[in-house]
Subunit: 207 residues, 2 copies
């Protein structure tokens, strides 16, 4: 039995509690079908109006990873990781595909209304405001992605410290694309730092 199929999927509690930011990875590649399995889970994230504004760019190519590392303050995890997923949002692509994201369970009349409403809503925003809106939604999927990676037995580190204009250039993305994170992932070759979080009473209030 291959390693990937014999692997036990972690419980939600195990995955969230064991997740650390890992910056050093084993030199061991991850098959594309395993990456697809992770993205098939990530794709099930919810989003407002089901717009699914997340887009994933999966970088296996070593030259491209070198280039990305250069514009990400030299962060070594980019070339250490067998794969890097750049999570973006492309609201212009979303607007072109509105008819595909409305739920099939609604009536045609309801669908027409929803399309009209959404088109008006987003046309009243600037391209940048739309991008910001989509970015927030894409981060829900980023949460799903990080848990899926961990749950399937890998480790990751999400990063935001990179020159976004240069990454757009390297990946030939339009200038309006916003970035949720660059996620290096693979098999961990270090333990990572312990969690350091605010206590619950600082961030939660019961009513």
């Amino acid at each position: 039995m291959s390693i990937k199929t014999s692997k036990k999927v972690l419980t939600v509690t195990e995955a969230i509690e064991s997740r650390r930011s890992i910056r050093r990875f084993l030199k061991r590649s991850i098959p594309n079908e395993k990456i697809e399995e992770i993205l098939e889970l990530t794709r099930l994230s919810p989003s407002a109006w089901n717009l699914q504004p997340w887009r994933f760019h999966i970088i296996n190519d070593p030259d491209l990873k070198d280039k990305l590392q250069e514009v990400a303050t030299g962060n070594k995890q980019i070339t250490s990781a067998p794969a890097v997923i750049v999570v973006t949002t492309d609201m212009e692509d979303v607007l072109k595909n509105l008819h595909e994201t409305t739920h099939p369970s609604i009536t045609n009349e309801h669908k027409e209304k929803e399309l009209m409403y959404l088109t008006t809503q987003f046309e009243n925003m600037t391209k940048e405001e739309r991008g910001q809106w989509g970015l927030a939604q894409a981060n829900i999927a980023l949460g799903f992605l990080l848990i899926a990676i961990q749950g399937l037995g890998y480790a990751s580190s999400p990063m935001l410290g990179f020159d976004q204009a240069k990454v757009q250039e390297i990946l030939q993305l339009p200038h309006y694309v916003e970035f949720a994170a660059m996620v290096a992932f693979g098999y961990p070759d270090e333990k990572g730092d312990d969690h350091h979080r605010l206590e619950l009473n600082k961030i939660a209030k019961f009513y």
Copy 2:
């Protein structure tokens, strides 16, 4: 053995695949310690510079749920659910607590530099831009929250369709607080609609 401790935690795959937006819940309350368990997991979400800009408002009070429902286009799941968690971001509170969120593993010198850098970065933004930045980060925790709820055996529906100014008023929150979602959750009393998502080849590209 009580129901809550005997419950099996779902695997990441099971939790993500079984999650649906659930709008009708059983009339069965959720103990606060169970809600805290969910939030203890959610709190482990990563964020840029570990700023943890998410804040959670947990509404058990029936009168308050009535009021929230009124300003959320009458969405019945709010009063149907035993508990509602309003996920917000409060970047002004984040800036007051920067010394608490920097990681204890870094040197004092490094810490001073980081605090200076962050203070300058965020002071160069308007309050609204800071809010938008925090909102994107808070949505990573929203992803974690939805998976944690499902993993521990409950169901949820995240909502964005509400009058945010009125919710600020009802919960007496400052006007600069941004909203990631209102999450109704409890024991499901319906199956929910099937997933309807874009195919992977529409949202993922390999390089």
